[in-house]
């Protein structure tokens, strides 16, 4: 029984007020395949090919400067943890940790903050130059500076809220539909299941896409700084 519609997102499963449901964040670690034997398994090859594709993509976005070498690793890890959390949250009774601002903001804010601090301290002129995009007519430049500053300021917010809101929206819809389940006749039940299957397909796509978007945007923000 739910007190309100959003109680599905409440952290529960507590042991002496120690919330254990956040452990679902680490569930992805159990799923990542390991190479114990010399010849890899099918799972590992699939996972490896996904990571390689991402690495190639991020490499072109980050650039080829010496200081950026190896930066793709952190963004791929970011992608992994967000994707696993999003996707596993679709399973019943698994807590979606990325639907909480605590989680998404903890990922986005330190990332953005470090980029800003590093950029402004080390490449101050470069950062100032970024505030005015290429090809702006001179008369618009002051306004562009304002707009770009504001856009920079809200970046952690957008990153965090985009992810959390997408997750919440999807889960909310599924929960709403599911709540009508107990009061349905058997014939309408098949309709419900079909609708939910369609929604789930959408949600799986959204889960993966949102994690990809998060990672790509972080990559772009990091490439801006350098």
């Amino acid at each position: 029984m739910m007190t309100n519609l959003f109680s599905v997102f409440d952290p529960s499963t507590s042991v002496y007020s120690l919330s254990l449901n956040w452990i679902s964040t680490l569930l992805g670690l159990m799923i990542i395949p390991s190479t114990f034997w010399l010849i890899p398994s099918r799972n590992f090859i699939m996972w490896n090919s996904i990571l390689n594709t991402l690495h190639k993509e991020f490499k072109t976005l980050i650039g080829y400067k010496n200081i950026n070498k190896g930066s793709t690793f952190i963004f791929i890890s970011l992608f992994s943890i967000i994707m696993f959390n999003n996707f596993l949250g679709l399973f019943p009774y698994i807590f979606t940790s990325t639907s909480h601002m605590t989680m998404t903001l903890s990922l986005a804010l330190p990332l953005w903050l470090t980029f800003m601090v590093f950029g402004w301290i080390n490449n101050t002129q470069h950062m100032f130059a970024h505030l005015v995009p290429q090809g702006t007519p001179p008369i618009l430049m002051p306004f562009m500076v304002c707009i770009e500053t504001i856009s920079n300021m809200i970046r952690p917010g957008t990153l965090a809220v985009r992810l959390a809101a997408n997750m919440i929206a999807g889960h909310l819809l599924l929960t709403l539909l599911g709540n009508t389940g107990p009061s349905l006749t058997s014939s309408l039940l098949s309709l419900l299941l079909i609708t939910q299957i369609a929604l789930l397909m959408l949600e799986s796509a959204v889960a993966i896409i949102q994690s990809y978007v998060f990672a790509v945007l972080s990559t772009l923000y990091s490439s801006e700084v350098n």
Partner: protein, 247 residues
């Protein structure tokens, strides 16, 4: 029973039950004698995951039921347990249940539809990697097999040389034979010529002797014919002639 860790795979489990040392144990490790290998065997990492039925239920659970209840036992147990849980509302069918149901249907359809193709593609990748690992060894084996075949061919060729030599020898023998016969023929002809000459000479000698003898006899006879004898023989001839003419 619930864990899929390490030595729960069939082979090793049976080995454990038979109380024999596990196959993965190396001789160097048992040599020290520090550890009681029989009662505390070293766990071996299983190569393949444990057998499951219907995708996620372990085979051991079915084996557990088999002795007492046969093949349908676990299914009856499952149906009974779920009926109990649903009817007593111990497991409440609320929104999570329905989304779980939808997810289950979606997952089963996805696995059945895309599973085989994806498995085939991934298996090809695995095979490619395995092939790459084995390629060095295999190419060496191939090289040596080819070398062996080439060597055998060379040996066969060398044996052919023997036949060639025999043929050449026969050829030379034949030539010698032909030369010998030719010379034999020559010798025979020469000898025949010489002998023929001797024969001719004898013939000529005889002829000359004969001629001489005839001429001598004729001479002597002619010398010995008197005139009278001549007249008598002439008259006889004429009377014989007359007699023949009348006949």
């Amino acid at each position: 029973m619930l864990s899929r860790v390490a030595f729960r795979s069939d082979v090793n489990y049976q080995a454990l039950q038979r109380n024999v040392p596990l196959m993965g144990v190396r001789c160097s490790q048992t040599a020290s004698g520090e550890r009681d290998e029989v009662n505390f065997p070293r766990p071996v990492r299983a190569e393949l995951p444990g057998k499951v039925r219907h995708g996620f239920i372990p085979e051991e659970w079915f084996q557990f039921f088999y002795k007492k209840t046969g093949v349908t036992g676990p299914y009856v147990f499952g149906v009974g347990l779920s009926t109990y849980l649903f009817s007593k509302e111990i497991y409440v069918m609320e929104h999570e249940f329905y989304s779980g149901l939808s997810l289950l249907i979606m997952a089963v359809i996805a696995v059945k539809k895309f599973g085989p193709k994806l498995a085939e593609y991934l298996d090809k990748q695995v095979d490619a990697i395995e092939e790459a690992w084995k390629s060095g060894r295999n190419s060496e084996i191939q090289t040596y097999t080819n070398a062996i075949a080439a060597e055998k061919k060379e040996q066969w060729r060398a044996e052919g040389q023997k036949d060639l030599m025999a043929a050449k020898r026969a050829n030379v023998a034949m030539q010698l034979e032909a030369a010998y016969r030719e010379r034999m023929m020559l010798a025979y002809n020469e000898v025949k010529r010489r002998l023929d000459y001797q024969v001719e000479r004898q013939n000529i000698d005889r002829r000359i002797a004969h001629k001489h003898m005839v001429s001598w006899v004729v001479q002597n006879v002619v010398k010995s014919i008197t005139a009278q004898q001549e007249k008598e023989s002439l008259a006889k001839c004429i009377s014989d002639l007359r007699g023949l003419a009348k006949a």
